[in-house]
């Protein structure tokens, strides 16, 4: 797309602006790279926390009958797994990539509002503490019941849960504050901090995906905040928003929740699909196919994605007109999403491809995310969904969407930019082993769940019929390998941070973009002078 020439003469003036020493560097940071690293470390920690709860769930489901977990604890773990993975792992990891890469990619010295940036990050550990409190409180005398609602916290059940639900509600508020502040910062950075001659239409697609994601966050997170606030008032102050006896409607909460919850899926996936737009052209050694159609597809996903939320609620008894509308809208979304997939495939077409780890993950995404998309179309069809609803099929579907769609994209991004961040090459051989173990065990875990779901095994229930045993055993074995494989990921990261072959400025032969013009690792203040673009 474009290359940059930098005037290095000015860099000396800024050498005294090195990082502050000690704890202050991290607590009081105004540096996008330090904050980005903190986001990524936090996300990795939460990935393991969410992973441990997932492995506990799969251990329990290894055999029919009750093995390890009390049913309420099981339900609580299901709730926590979802919340930790969505709000603790994927969103902060994507925000970490945004923090690191957006200023580098658009030629900015830092984010537009660096102090606000630090606040956005540091609210997260506090919110995680609240989530942990919501988990711990029921173990104390008088602490009330555990959260057995699932992450969707539907009333009336969520009105009956004890004190821990209040901690969860406030944790969601804090996570929301963090996301909205981060999104404001990202939008302002993109609009206001680009290199002087970089047009919006010259930005890397990763930056575009985050622009769209940040819009979505600003529009839908406040609606979730409103919804859980009403829930709080129903629980403690006698209001009747979700109580039919007072003229309210529990279904109202579902509408509010999914007005947030469905765009949230795109919030999780779009940044990862943006990573692909950097990875795929690099390792195909070809320019990205169809830049403007990718941008258009994203904007279409944003707009349509905001008006199809009720496909999560087909079975609640909506009118025929309403379900028809939501069905058609949902199926229409597969057009722009498919377009993005085809753009990446066309980029690969006749390219001189090599398969370094980021590219392996990219190909994995295209295959498995598309598969998740196809089961999504099955679920979008109302009469079919009446059968699939709340079965393990749904679990298989959204794990095929979110693991490859979101987390594999993040892995691809981490391996792609890790040499740039640390200045060291990662161990390619180990990383490839990680990819294959990870991707195979992922499929062993979730592929059988399609079958047991179609055969009638419900989700979110601690026990199951003996006829589902074999597939569940297989799935649980896969899950153990899958969970443990992430220790290898951790090892590779630590090893790369501590040392390794020195990375060049331009780590990958076919890479394009401003971030490769800076040293590896980049200077403390990324671009002290606006880089000049020369259209190539």
């Amino acid at each position: 797309m474009s290359t940059a020439t930098i005037d290095l003469a000015h860099d000396h003036d800024h050498e005294h602006h090195g990082p502050p020493k000690g704890l202050k560097r991290w607590l009081f940071s105004t540096n996008h790279k330090d904050i980005g690293s903190m986001y990524l470390i936090f996300a990795l920690t939460m990935l393991f926390a969410g992973g441990v709860s997932a492995m506990a769930i799969r251990l329990e489901l290894f055999l029919p009958g009750l093995q390890l977990l009390d049913p309420d604890l099981y339900n609580n773990l299901v709730t926590n797994h979802a919340l930790i993975m969505i709000f603790g792992a994927v969103m902060p990891a994507a925000a970490g990539l945004a923090n690191w890469m957006i200023p580098l990619m658009i030629g900015a010295p830092d984010m537009a509002l660096p102090r606000l940036n630090n606040l956005s990050f540091w609210i997260l550990p506090a919110a995680a503490t609240m989530l942990i409190l919501s988990f711990i409180v029921p173990f104390f005398p008088g602490g009330g019941t555990q959260i057995n609602t699932g992450w969707t916290i539907y009333p009336p059940l969520s009105v009956q849960v004890g004190m821990s639900m209040d901690f969860l509600i406030f944790a969601l508020h804090m996570l929301g504050i963090s996301s909205v502040l981060a999104s404001i910062n990202i939008i302002v950075t993109i609009f206001n901090m680009r290199a002087p001659d970089m047009k919006l239409t010259q930005m890397p697609i990763f930056v575009w995906t985050w622009l769209v994601t940040a819009f979505l966050l600003i529009l839908v997170i406040p609606v979730l905040a409103g919804g859980v606030t009403m829930l709080l008032f129903d629980r403690h102050f006698g209001t009747s928003f979700f109580n039919a006896a007072g003229g309210g409607d529990p279904v109202l909460f579902q509408h509010l929740f999914w007005f947030f919850g469905h765009p949230e899926v795109y919030i999780l996936i779009l940044p990862s699909l943006g990573v692909l737009a950097s990875v795929v052209p690099t390792f195909s050694r070809k320019p990205l196919f169809g830049y403007s159609s990718l941008v258009g597809a994203m904007i279409a996903i944003m707009i349509i994605g905001m008006v199809v939320w009720a496909h999560h609620q087909y079975t609640i008894g909506m009118s025929l007109g309403a379900v028809s509308y939501f069905m058609i809208g949902t199926i229409i979304i597969s057009i722009p999403v498919g377009l993005m997939i085809f753009n990446y495939m066309a980029t690969m077409w006749r390219g001189a491809m090599t398969f370094e780890t980021p590219m392996l993950f990219a190909v994995g995404i295209l295959l498995m995310f598309s598969f998740g998309g196809l089961t999504g179309i099955m679920l979008a069809v109302v009469p079919a969904d009446m059968q699939y609803h709340d079965s393990m099929f749904v679990v298989a579907h959204f794990h095929y969407v979110l693991m490859p769609g979101a987390i594999f994209g993040l892995f691809a991004g981490v391996f792609y930019w890790l040499p740039k961040w640390t200045g060291h090459m990662y161990d390619e051989k180990l990383a490839k082993i990680f990819f294959w173990v990870n991707v195979i065990s992922f499929n062993v875990t979730f592929f059988p769940q399609h079958f047991i779901g179609l055969a009638g095994m419900p989700r979110r229930i601690v026990d199951y019929h003996v006829m589902f045993t074999e597939f569940n055993v297989l799935s649980s074995i896969g899950a153990m390998v899958f969970g443990l494989s992430h220790l290898l990921f951790l090892y590779i990261i630590i090893k790369t941070v501590r040392g390794g072959k020195q990375a060049e400025n331009k780590v990958w032969e076919g890479a394009k973009g401003l971030e490769w013009e800076l040293s590896s690792p980049p200077p403390f203040h990324s671009w002290t002078t606006p880089p000049k673009l020369a259209a190539s």
């Binding site: 607590l27 105004t30 909205v180 999104s183 609606v223 009403m230 928003f241 039919a244």
Partner: protein, 291 residues
């Protein structure tokens, strides 16, 4: 496009590292966890709220004080000013959607949920539970939670409050004109009038709530009408109060002479916020009080 082009290459401004984000995080954490404990009748919660709120006040004073100092010592450039402006714009956008969740709920309850509850349409199975119920707005639902009540009329205090807020929107614009003409007196009196009108609005609202509780038996527990009424007007009243506090800070700064005709982002940010609160009220007046 960018100011950087006019000022030379070293134009970017990056603030020094700052302790205030951490203080803000602690303030939010103590206030929210304290609230969670208080509403479950755990005694220590109230102290945590107090600690969190004190930290919040200190944080705003310290953080904004630092920003004001940096601004007055001329460290900022046009780009920073634009970042602040755009940031405020998107913050208000998120607030708009927060209120939309409540307006949307009101719409859903009145247009979809209540007709079903009254037996309209083929999906209305609620007739099994509430056979005779016919929903006329306002309603406290089939079980009349909170007892019989009277709805709040539109043409008494609410209409007066509409006029007050519209007038305050005019006075804050008048103050802005004063600022742009470098007319200190016009600026200060315009702001003072706006704050006075804002506080008058809040006083009337408190009076209205007292009237509703004591004479109309309209409470937060009065079914879904009471819920939506108090939630919407309550959050709006809270925002007016916050807006008035922000205006007071701006008034103090205006008296100190912090603003110039070309450098007064803080004034404009608060004025935008005030207009936003104003527009939300118009929505409230039409959909909560009037229709």
């Amino acid at each position: 496009m960018s100011s950087a082009a006019h000022h030379g290459p070293n134009d970017y401004y990056i603030p020094e590292s700052s302790p205030w984000p951490i203080v803000a995080m602690l303030a939010v954490f103590f206030m929210l966890s304290g609230t969670a404990l208080t509403i479950n009748e755990v005694g220590i919660g109230a102290w945590m709220i107090l600690a969190g709120f004190s930290l919040l006040v200190v944080m705003f004073y310290g953080w904004f004080g630092q920003v004001i100092k940096e601004n007055l010592s001329d460290q900022y450039n046009e780009q920073v000013d634009r970042s602040f402006r755009q940031g405020m714009f998107w913050f208000i956008a998120s607030e708009v959607f927060f209120f939309l969740s409540f307006f949307g709920s009101l719409y859903y309850i009145r247009m979809i949920a209540l007709p079903w509850l009254s037996g309209e349409g083929y999906l209305a199975e609620s007739q099994l539970l509430y056979n005779q119920f016919v929903a006329d707005w306002p309603t406290a639902g089939p079980e009349e939670l909170g007892g019989r009540f009277k709805a709040m009329g539109a043409w008494g205090i609410p209409a007066l409050n509409t006029l007050i807020l519209l007038l305050s929107g005019a006075t804050v614009t008048w103050a802005h004109w004063g600022l742009k003409e470098d007319d200190q007196k016009k600026l200060v009196w315009g702001l003072a009038a706006t704050i006075g009108l804002g506080l008058l609005f809040v006083v009337f609202q408190v009076y209205e709530y007292r009237h509703a509780y004591h004479e109309l038996n309209l409470t937060l527990e009065s079914g879904v009408y009471g819920s939506t009424f108090y939630m919407l007007t309550g959050f709006h009243g809270f925002h007016v109060t916050m807006g008035a506090v922000m205006l007071m800070a701006i008034l103090v700064r205006a008296i100190k002479g912090h603003f110039s005709p070309h450098n007064h982002f803080a004034f404009e940010a608060v004025a935008w916020y005030w207009h936003f609160v104003d527009v939300v009220w118009l929505g409230l007046f039409v959909f909560v009080y009037w229709m």
